[in-house]
């Protein structure tokens, strides 16, 4: 980062996710057209673009969430740490533990706060004992910046929390399995400004440990939380670069038109 923000953590130069010649089809409809992108480790990468541009589709193929859609077909290669995630030897369930995901609407399980977070580590056998699990749950809730608010009511239902708390609980749940990549699909669109700010602060903290990819409709949010921004339009990756460059001096006229509010 060639600017005055000397307190900022620099962007990691190592590539975490590398996608090449990715094409995604829904039946005959091509949703993503020949996307090539390298996503850095310990960095927040934002995907922006108008509705239907393919940004969520692309995000969901990074942990093979699209596998659950029958008519969806992915071509090209996507590698995480050099390993092809669409290889037949890869277990999608293991992959999704490594590549966590947070959705637009907070979706805690209809269980206690504790169980919400403990579920993943239990399934993946990350805890040997109850004491182990307690440690994992506390650590995840702390990472989710929600520990102080829920530590006295860990066995209350997760659905009883406020929207912003629920979303942070979902982030805590996602980090409990020690993922390496965290995908977020519009994590703040159902939250009020304060809860949004708390989640954004959390995203910035999580950057120390993970590679984060966030899809957002709010360009302000992309500008605030990300170091790299990718602009999608009609299934194409139009421009990818440093966030400050994309928002102050975009090189492609379509990017310019979109971020300045001239095309939707």
């Amino acid at each position: 980062m060639d600017d005055l923000r000397y307190m900022e953590m620099p962007v990691d130069q190592d590539t975490k996710i590398s996608a090449s010649n990715v094409q995604i089809y829904y039946g005959d409809n091509q949703a993503i057209k020949d996307v090539n992108v390298e996503i850095a480790d310990k960095t927040v990468t934002a995907f922006i673009g108008p509705s239907g541009c393919g940004k969520s589709t692309f995000l969901r193929c990074l942990n093979r969430m699209n596998d659950t859609i029958d008519i969806c077909r992915v071509e090209g290669t996507i590698k995480i740490d050099g390993d092809d995630i669409y290889d037949n030897a890869v277990d999608p369930v293991q992959l999704r533990a490594k590549v966590g995901m947070v959705f637009q609407k907070p979706n805690p399980f209809p269980k206690s706060i504790y169980d919400n977070v403990a579920y993943g580590p239990k399934v993946h056998g990350l805890a040997k004992s109850k004491a182990d699990l307690d440690v994992i749950v506390e650590k995840a809730l702390r990472r989710g910046a929600i520990w102080d608010e829920v530590k006295d009511r860990l066995h209350a239902p997760g659905t009883g929390l406020s929207g912003g708390q629920q979303q942070r609980l979902c982030i805590a749940r996602a980090v409990a399995t020690e993922p390496e990549v965290l995908l977020m699909d519009e994590p703040c669109s159902a939250l009020d400004p304060i809860a949004t700010a708390q989640v954004e602060e959390l995203i910035d903290e999580l950057r120390q440990s993970y590679s984060l990819v966030i899809v957002t409709h709010s360009m302000q949010q992309a500008a605030r939380v990300s170091q790299r921004t990718a602009f999608f339009h009609l299934g194409n990756l139009v421009e990818f670069g440093d966030t400050s460059q994309i928002f102050t001096n975009p090189q492609d006229s379509r990017t310019e038109s979109y971020i300045t509010g001239r095309i939707g």
Binding site: F247, N249, I263
Partner: protein
């Protein structure tokens, strides 16, 4: 401006409004440059008073433009070229305001110079220099309105002429003062005026740089070639 309109049309109107204000301010400043130089040459104190009064309107416009720019940033969160438009109106209005101040200063000194012995030909030379600066400013504002980076670059190069005119005036004043110490008062005033006109040229240059920044997203980085015989550059001072 981009040929594409914003989806929110009030945003377009806001941006146009602030650019129109820049043009209005620029027009006032051009007028003040010409009038202050004419007042200096013709020893016209009434015209000089007019220049001093116009400076108030220029200052008010600058304030309005800055308020509007702050409002635009707060309300519209401009990005890309829109952001550069807003940032550059702040700087351009600042440059215009400084030029306005220099014309006011010239008008004040005109009142003093009217009381003392005239220096032959010097006010006419200053006026020629001021006309050149005014022509540069006119073109800079044209470049601004047309968002023409090439024209802005051409104006930047023209500033060299103004610097050369200033350097030769500086030498003349030295000669006049050595010839007759009674010239010192007027020559000192005229020297300050000439220096200020030269500074006006620099501010026009910075306006052109803003135009280039607004259009291309990058500040021009090429330094103008140093003018031979610059009195401030020790290397170029010749021994008499």
């Amino acid at each position: 401006m981009s040929d594409q309109q914003h989806i929110v049309s009030a945003y377009d109107r806001d941006l146009e409004g602030v650019m129109v204000a820049i043009m209005k301010m620029g027009g006032l400043v051009e007028d003040s440059i010409l009038k202050s130089a004419q007042a200096l040459e013709t020893r016209d104190l009434e015209l000089a008073a007019e220049v001093r009064a116009a400076d108030k309107r220029i200052d008010e416009l600058e304030e309005k433009i800055n308020d509007e720019a702050a409002r635009l940033i707060a309300l519209r969160a401009p990005m890309g070229r829109d952001l550069r438009t807003v940032l550059s109106v702040i700087k351009i209005s600042g440059a215009l305001e400084r030029i306005g101040d220099y014309t006011k200063n010239m008008a004040k000194r005109t009142a003093v110079l009217a009381e003392v012995q005239a220096v032959n030909g010097a006010p006419a030379s200053v006026r020629r220099m001021a006309r050149e600066v005014e022509a540069m400013l006119r073109e800079a504002l044209d470049a601004y309105v047309r968002q023409d980076a090439a024209l802005a670059q051409a104006v930047i190069l023209r500033d060299e002429d103004v610097d050369q005119m200033y350097n030769s005036l500086f030498r003349n004043f030295l000669t006049y003062m050595m010839e007759d110490p009674r010239n010192i008062t007027s020559c000192m005033h005229l020297q300050f005026i000439a220096k200020n006109v030269e500074r006006m040229g620099d501010h026009v240059t910075s306006i052109c740089e803003q135009v280039i920044y607004q259009v291309t997203g990058e500040m021009p980085d090429d330094e103008r070639p140093k003018v031979a015989g610059d009195p401030y550059d020790p290397a170029s001072v010749t021994e008499d």
